[in-house]
Symmetry: C2
Subunit: 375 residues, 2 copies
C-alpha cells in the first residue's frame, strides 16, 4: 500500500480520510493539535507544526506522496521532499504563488487572467495614501484564513482597520453573482471540471451562508467563467484539485477572486451530490488512478454550520434532533469539542430536483440549528 501524508488535520483532512477508506492506502497526518478533527482517522498521526521545516521534512521523508489541507505550510520542506522524489500535490511552486495574495494577484495579471484591479501596500501609511482607490478591499498578503485578514475599506475612516503589513488593496467590484468552480487535474494532465456553484456570503463573518449547485447564471457567462477558471488553474502546471472563486459583475464580466490549490468549502456538496467527490478525486490523483466523474447526481445546496455569536466552550447542537428529520439533508459535524463564534463546526448538504425545496430546507436548517456552548 502507498503511504500518503496530509499536512493539516482540520475538517478537510477529516473528510479526506473518510474518502481514503475507500482505497488501499496508508495515511499519515501532521498537525499540532492531537485533538483535531482528523487525528483519529489516519494510520499514523504525527504531532508537529506544518509551518516548521524540520517537522514537515521529517514527516514527508519516506512517504510516497504528500498533499495539504491548508496553504499555510512550510513550502521549503516540500520543495526539498519533491527534489528527493516524494510526489507532492499540488507542486510546492503553486503554494508559493497562492499563499501570498500579492504573488497570486501577479500570477493572474502575468497570465492575462481577469481579476479586480489592485495595488500593493506595505503598511497603514501607504494604505492611507490610496484614498483615490477607495472603496476597496484590503487583504493581508500572508496568513489570512476564513474571513481573517480581509477588511473592506469604504473610505478614509476605515483606513485604521487595514493591515500594517504587505497587503493587496483591491478595487471593490460590483458583484452580481459570486461563483466557484472546482477543477481536478491528474498527474498526466487530464482535467475534470465540476459544475459551478453559486454563493451567498454572510457579510459580517465573511463565511459562506449557503451555496447552490449548479450556479444560476446565463449560459454564456457560464462558459466564460469556465474558460477563465481553467486558465487560472492550468498555468500552475501542477496536478491537484483547485477551487477558483469568481465574481460575475452586473454586466456579465467575470473576474477571478482567488484560487485555493486544495479541497475547499466550495466542494463539500460533491460528497453526496456528485459521482466523485472532491475528496475522492484527491485520492484518485494521489494514487495515480483515473479521474472520477464530476457530474451531479442531483442539484444541491450546502450550508456551513458555524459557532453562534456569543457562545464559547463545549459544543452543543441545539435543534439537531429536529433537523435530522429532514429526509434529503446530509449532516457533517466535524467533531470539534469546542465552539466559538464563527467557527466552522460542520456543514449540511441538501439534494433535490426542486430548487424551491433546496432553498426551503436550507433556510429551515439555518434557522433551526444553532451551535451553542454547554452551560
Amino acid at each position: 500500500m502507498q503511504k500518503v501524508g496530509i499536512l493539516g488535520g482540520g475538517q478537510l483532512g477529516r473528510m479526506l480520510l473518510q474518502a481514503a477508506a475507500n482505497y488501499p492506502v496508508e495515511t499519515y497526518i501532521l498537525e499540532n493539535d492531537d485533538q483535531c478533527p482528523a487525528a483519529h482517522l489516519c494510520h499514523h498521526f504525527f504531532k508537529g507544526d506544518i509551518r516548521d521545516y524540520d517537522a514537515v521534512y521529517a514527516f514527508g521523508k519516506g512517504l510516497d506522496a504528500l498533499t495539504i489541507e491548508i496553504e499555510n505550510v512550510n513550502v521549503d520542506a516540500l520543495e526539498t521532499l519533491e527534489k528527493e522524489g516524494v510526489t507532492v500535490i499540488p507542486h510546492p511552486s503553486v503554494l508559493r504563488t497562492i499563499r501570498n495574495k500579492a504573488a497570486q494577484k501577479k500570477y493572474y495579471t502575468d497570465h492575462q487572467i481577469p481579476t479586480a484591479e489592485y495595488i500593493l501596500t506595505h503598511n497603514i501609511q501607504e494604505l492611507s495614501e490610496q484614498a483615490h482607490f477607495f472603496p476597496a478591499v484590503h487583504k493581508i498578503a500572508e496568513g489570512g484564513y476564513d474571513g481573517r485578514g480581509v477588511q473592506i475599506i469604504e473610505n478614509e475612516q476605515d483606513v485604521a482597520k487595514g493591515f500594517d503589513a504587505m497587503s493587496v488593496l483591491e478595487k471593490k467590484v460590483d458583484v452580481a453573482r459570486e461563483i466557484a468552480m472546482m477543477i481536478a487535474i491528474d498527474r498526466s494532465g487530464a482535467i475534470a471540471i465540476y459544475p459551478a456553484v453559486q454563493m451567498v456570503f454572510d457579510k459580517t463573518l465573511n463565511l459562506l451562508d449557503f451555496q447552490l449547485c449548479p450556479a444560476d447564471i446565463e449560459e454564456k457567462t457560464y462558459w466564460k467563467a469556465e474558460a477563465i477558471a481553467l486558465s487560472a488553474v492550468k498555468n500552475f502546471n501542477s496536478p491537484g484539485i483547485f477551487a477558483v472563486e469568481l465574481f460575475v459583475t452586473p454586466g456579465g464580466e467575470v473576474l477571478v477572486n482567488e484560487t485555493a490549490p486544495r479541497v475547499h468549502n466550495s466542494g463539500h456538496h460533491t460528497i453526496e451530490a456528485h459521482y466523485s467527490s472532491q475528496f475522492d478525486m484527491v485520492w484518485r490523483i494521489l494514487l495515480n488512478y483515473p479521474l472520477g466523474s464530476t457530474d451531479a447526481i442531483l442539484p444541491s445546496v450546502m450550508l456551513n454550520i458555524i459557532g453562534k455569536e456569543g457562545y464559547s466552550g463545549e459544543a452543543v447542537y441545539e435543534g439537531l434532533d429536529e433537523m435530522l428529520k429532514i429526509e434529503n439533508a446530509f449532516f457533517h459535524l466535524y467533531g470539534k469539542r469546542q465552539t466559538k463564534a464563527g467557527r466552522k463546526m460542520g456543514h449540511v448538504t441538501i439534494i433535490s430536483n426542486e430548487k424551491a425545496d433546496l432553498l426551503h430546507k436550507a433556510n429551515k436548517i439555518k434557522h433551526g440549528l444553532s451551535v451553542i456552548a454547554k452551560e
Copy 2:
C-alpha cells in the same frame, strides 16, 4: 461527546467508522487483529478477543453505548454491561437467538414467521438418518460465517460434507427469487424499512454475486415480504439495524432464510444509493437521533470484490484503473493487505435510472476486476 464501542473491526466496522465521522462521537474498536480494516479509523483501538468475557467486559465498561459488526461475540459480557447501564444495540438477547441457527429457527416458528421446514441434527450419524429429508441444506448452529458452515446435502453421498456438531437441516426450498430487507428500529420503537434488494449468489462460494435495488418482484409479493420481515424483526423487541434474508418460491410464497442484527452486505448499496445509509442509520440509533430516510436516490446494483481463486498473498487489484473510469460506479476497497480465494476485499455500487446500465456495468466490473496476489 458520547463514547461508543464496536465489537469487531472488519469492513463493516470500517464503514461504520467512515459514517461516524459525520457525528460528534468518540469511537472505540475491540478486535484481535490490529491490522484489521477498522483499526486506524477509531479514536481508541483495543486489541482483544471479542469472544472473551473479560476482554468484552473491560472494553465496554465506561462506554455509553456498544454495538457489533459480527454476531460471534461474548453475549454474557454484553448482558452484564447492559445490566450495569451501558446501552447495548442490539440487545444481547437478540444475539443469543440469532447466533445459534437452531435457536433462530425456533424463534421463527415460535412467532409464526414462515421459514423453510427443518430438523435439528447433533452429529453426522443423525444427519445420515435423515435421508428422507434430502435434498436439504445443512447449517452448523454456531460459528458459521460468509459461506463457511453451510453445506448442500443433495443425497446420501453428500452426508460426509455435513457437520458433526449441532446443526439445522433445512429442507431445500425451490427459490425463484432471493431478496433481503434492511430494517432499522430506534430506541423509541420507530421503524424505517429500506426497499428490498434482490440477490444472485455465486453457487460455489455462497457469496453475493450481485444485488439489485429495488428487487424485481410483484407488488403483492413485495408487501408479503415486508410484512414477514417486519414480523421477524419486531419480535426481537430491540432497537438496531436488521438484515432479513428471504426466499420467494415460484408460487409466490415468502420464507425467512435468516436474519442478521447488524449492518450487512445486503445494505452496502445504501451508502450512495439512499439518503441515509445503513451505517448512518446505526449512528442515529446509537446516539438517539431520529431515524434517517430509507428512500432511494437512484436504483442501484452492488457487487462484492472477492479474492480470486488460486491466489493468496499481498493483494493486487488487476484492472482497477480501467474500472475506476466507470462514471457511475463507487468503489470501496477495504484495505486488506492479504488476499485469499473468496475473501471479501471490497465492493462496488453502481447507481442509475436504467436497469440495463446497472447490469451492464456490474458485469463489466465482475469480469474486468480481479484481486490477485503479488508475485
